[in-house]
Amino acid sequence: MNGTAVLGSALPGVPLLVGLIGLLLNPGDDGRASRRTAAALGVAGAAIALAVTVVLLGLDDPVEGSIRWIQLGDLAVTLTLSAGAAALYVALAVCVVALAVQVYSMAYLHDDTRYAPYAAQVSLFTGAMLLVVTSGDLILLLIGWEVMGLCSYLLIGHDRRLPEAPAAAVKAFLVTRVGDVGFLLGIAILGVEAGTFRIAEVLAHDYAAGPLTAALILILAGVAGKSAQFPLHTWLPDAMAGPTPISALIHAATMVAAGVYVVFRLFPLFDRSPAALAVLGVMAAITVLLGALSATAQDDLKRVLAWSTVSQIGYMTGALAVGSPAAALFHLLTHAAFKALLFLAAGAVIHAVGTNYLSRMGGLRHGMPVTFWTFVIGLGALAGVPPLAGFWSKENVLVAAAHATEGGEAVPVWVAWVVWLAALVGVMITAWYATRLLLRAFFGPPRADEWHVGFGDASSAAHQPLAPHDPPALMRWPILVLAVPSAVLGLTAFLPAFRTALELEPPHLDVAIVLPMVLLVTGVGAAWWLWHAVPGVDPARALGRVRPLFASGFHLDAVQDRLVVRPVRALASAVRAMDERGVDATVESTGVATTRLGTLLTTAHRAALPRAVVAVFTGALVLGVVAAIYGSRA
């Protein structure tokens, strides 16, 4: 344990501790004092973690430290911290987003009576993600991993007025937990084979091919759950029932980023298993297209963004699959910035117009210029418009995939082709739906007559100004701050220090960017042309008959319901019936049978006097005869 390790332990430690203390505050609303304490705790937790990260980055000394935690048989579990520069950059993103979310939430939830537990849960969430990022032991990592699942459950279910919130919360926890069954088993295989759960030793261990591939594919199940990859992505769009800042937190820096980060952390193992990489690549390609296509047909602003997250995470896992963890991490960082920005800005829109539906928005750019311009930056970065952040990182992913199609990487060549093509098509679709979103919300005629309600937890209807307006300062500043990295973070790829930390390739601005640029312009142009040709009509109408299919996310919810939920319910009912009418009835019937036998014997003994006398004499006679026979023999 050196000094940096002690400091490093404060990174997950402080937010976790602050979160636990915050949970002890009165959950009910008892005035401003407890509210202020809760807010102070939440902001302080994120701010201290951010300061620690900056100091650690400045020290330029990797955080390493380990103490023994528990020894179970021959297996050692340790409390190990291990964070190099790359991990610290991820931690930086987590802390910045968490701080922005905490500050933003103070205004966004200003009249929510259950703000105190909310702020504490956000702190726990942040701490858990930082634990995943800094952990050097698989079991310790699993703790952060699952605590995040719990916090997402608690926060998605926060809003008491939304009838769908509890169901969405349960779904988020359960779907990720199903993936975590695989994750636990995968970790167990890795740990048992290596005799330790320390990541450094696990990475150095020489595994046989079979167990390694099995373990990695099992771990990918957990990754798919947390990072919302096909087929375990179904929880993410529903998770929009959570308050908007929570969506920003889940989508940008925590939770969905965790899966990608874990693959990044274990990449040396993945690099030895082409089968696991192939699974990852196919999963990524399906997810990119599935998410992007589903995003085209949504009418709910937040759902467009949610599906775009699914698709963008697919780019990261795709980059990992084609052997470029650096590109994946770079895209993770830029995505954290622009997706947090987009969600917080979306919160400002919803705050202003009181609805999530694009069909009820329009013309908002006049009333809320700050929100509009930040949205332009965020959507531009999402679509990959140069020189915004997303352009550089996405270009990195595309180059890595194209490079892998030439062979020479661990991944099979056909998988590299699949990833590359999916990523290219994804660029065009992303540009299309980003343009559609911008046009639907901010251009065209305003539909003020439909902004009939004030947003309940933001302000009461009586004080609702007639025109949509930019949000108050506490919400505006986090958006403005996040707009900066969304715009310029991509340019850090030119900084040698940053590139070394991520082991990133220098940006190549050669002929390879022409194809994505053409696709980008095609996507934007198509959406704009549809919008321009028939003004005021949703470009998504052009999707025609496939629109309901896309809008429902390819009916995968229904498939999941048919294939998993209902069979499990039916099985549970059958098992309960078996247990009560089979096992328990057997037990009860032995009791009943014994009682009946007793009754029978009692009846046999209850006889009228003459018959009893006869019976007694008969018995005496039999006994006498028996005694006489055996007695004479002896």
Partner: protein, 502 residues
């Protein structure tokens, strides 16, 4: 000094029960709480009897089978003609369970000072019965003589019967009868097992018997089957579990807490100390069957919970699943699995004890335990809802809380054991963990979310409830963060017990 403490641990609650029974109602309840407090202190003090020079972690390669060395023991001839001794002792395996027993009895006696279940007998009698129960349970964990173990094992039965039948719910007599008859059936098998071993080995000393020394293979097979059946009824292991839901549903809150918290642990403790200890070859022979039944318990217990409609019954069935993980750990017969089982034992005692306290509090306030009639608790009683959420989440095995270690490492131990059978069992057990999450989330959704249904009579958590619950909340967190608290000194004794198998 050490032997004095050992005897005092049993004598204080016994005397306390006597005094409690003689005093008037309220004074008696206070006396019981005081006796329980002294006993708890004594159980904690037992740690001082440990040789401080021994070091906490004894790892590394060993040569030959080390004997089981208790920290402290007392050995007095009791029935010399039958070679039965009054032999008590404490070691790393039994110590955490002893302390847990002391703690839960104290919490229950303290709770009874303020809260006596309505419609039953006097609170004083209930408190006295709790102390008698404690004597039996502590004696079971302390006994180092097989016959003495059996005697204490039996002492527990009747007071528990009286607690359920005297202070329980509307169906209490039926449930109590089922409990006592079912567990008596187990006891008969245990008695047979005890005499099989004692007659064959010529001694009843558990220290001498550890490692199955001197017993023929057939004897070990027969003995282990008898022991396993007897302890499987107590633990309970599917399909011998059906007394449990009825007993729990009808038992008063404190009865449920003791029943789930420590009474079930007598089964798993007995399986390790007596079953595996005295008949290791039998254990190795029966391990696959035990493992399959344990996984069946996990899956069936959690699936039944998914369709359960009553709060206490659901928690009772969840015990079947959790004890399934403990039994899976034991069945692997690896050191990892045994240690996981010991942590799982303690964690289940703490968490399920808390869950039953909370379920009792909710039922007292709303006068219903039906999930369909509950709802919106986080609106009407936010603290209570928060505690219920905490306990449920701890129970579903969230990493960082107590429940995680036992369950995750039972799975890891099964993977460690290797081979197609144990790998399959590990996969199924891990899947059972997901179903466990499903039914606890369903429970929370029904009880805490949604529209507020019955207005609870008393939304605030009472001071006595805080006193009774907060140690359990703290322990659930503490054991989760520092699991070595439980496994501190278990490595050497488990090696001693399983040495014959390697």
């Amino acid at each position: 000094m050490a032997s004095f403490v050992l005897v005092a641990v049993l004598a204080v609650p016994a005397l306390g029960a006597l005094i409690t029974a003689l005093l008037p109602d309220r004074a008696g309840r206070i006396a019981a709480a005081v006796a329980a407090a002294i006993t708890f202190l004594l159980t904690v003090l037992l740690i001082l009897t440990r040789d401080p020079g021994a070091g906490w972690f004894a790892y590394g390669p060993r040569t030959g089978a080390p004997p089981v060395v208790p920290w402290a023991q007392i050995d007095v001839a009791w029935i010399p003609a039958l070679e039965v001794d009054f032999h008590l002792g404490v070691d790393g395996i039994s110590y955490p369970l002893i302390v847990l027993t002391g703690l839960l009895t104290l919490l229950c006696c303290g709770y009874t000072v303020k809260q006596v279940p309505a419609g039953g007998g006097s609170g004083r009698t209930l408190a006295a019965l709790l102390l008698v129960l404690e004597v039996g349970i502590l004696g079971t964990f302390l006994a180092l003589d097989l016959v003495l173990f059996f005697v204490f094992f039996e002492v527990v039965l009747l007071p528990m019967y009286a607690v359920i039948a005297g202070w329980g719910g509307p169906e209490r007599r039926r449930a109590a009868r089922k409990f006592v008859l079912y567990t008596l059936f187990g006891s008969v098998l245990l008695l047979l097992g005890v005499f099989t071993v004692v007659v064959a080995a010529g001694t009843a000393d558990l220290l001498a018997l550890a490692g199955g020394l001197g017993l023929s293979r057939t004897t070990q097979y027969v003995a282990f089957v008898l022991f396993a059946l007897a302890f499987a009824v107590k633990a309970p292991l599917w399909p011998l579990h059906t007394w449990l839901p009825d007993a729990h549903t009808e038992a008063p809150t404190v009865g449920s807490v003791i029943l789930a918290g420590v009474l079930l642990k007598m089964g798993t403790y007995g399986l390790i100390r007596v079953g595996v200890g005295a008949a290791p070859e039998g254990a190795a022979w029966a391990a696959p069957v035990l493992g399959i039944l344990a996984v069946a318990a996990i899956l069936i217990g959690s699936l039944v919970c998914l369709r359960q409609t009553e709060l206490k019954r659901l928690i009772a069935y969840s015990s079947v699943g959790h004890m399934g993980f403990v039994l899976l750990g034991i069945a692997t017969l690896t050191v990892t699995g045994m240690q996981a089982a010991l942590i799982g034992n303690i964690a289940h005692g703490v968490i399920t004890g808390l869950l039953f306290f909370l379920a009792g509090a909710i039922k007292d306030r709303t006068h219903t335990g039906l999930l369909s009639e509950l709802g919106g608790l986080r609106e009407t009683a936010p603290r209570l809802a928060g505690l219920l959420a905490f306990a449920s989440i701890a129970s579903l095995g969230l990493p960082g809380l107590a429940g995680f270690w036992g369950e995750a490492f039972a799975v890891v131990a099964a993977i460690e054991r290797g081979g197609p059978l144990w790998t399959t069992l590990a996969v199924l057990a891990a899947a059972g963990g997901a179903v466990t999450a499903a039914y606890f989330l369903r429970l929370l959704r029904r009880v805490t979310h949604g529209a507020a249904k019955p207005e609870p009579a008393q939304p605030r958590v009472q001071p006595i409830e805080w006193i009774a619950w907060s140690p359990l909340v703290l322990l659930a967190l503490l054991i989760g963060l520092i699991p070595a608290l439980v496994t501190l000194d278990t490595h050497a004794p488990i090696i001693a017990i399983t040495e014959a198998l390697r």
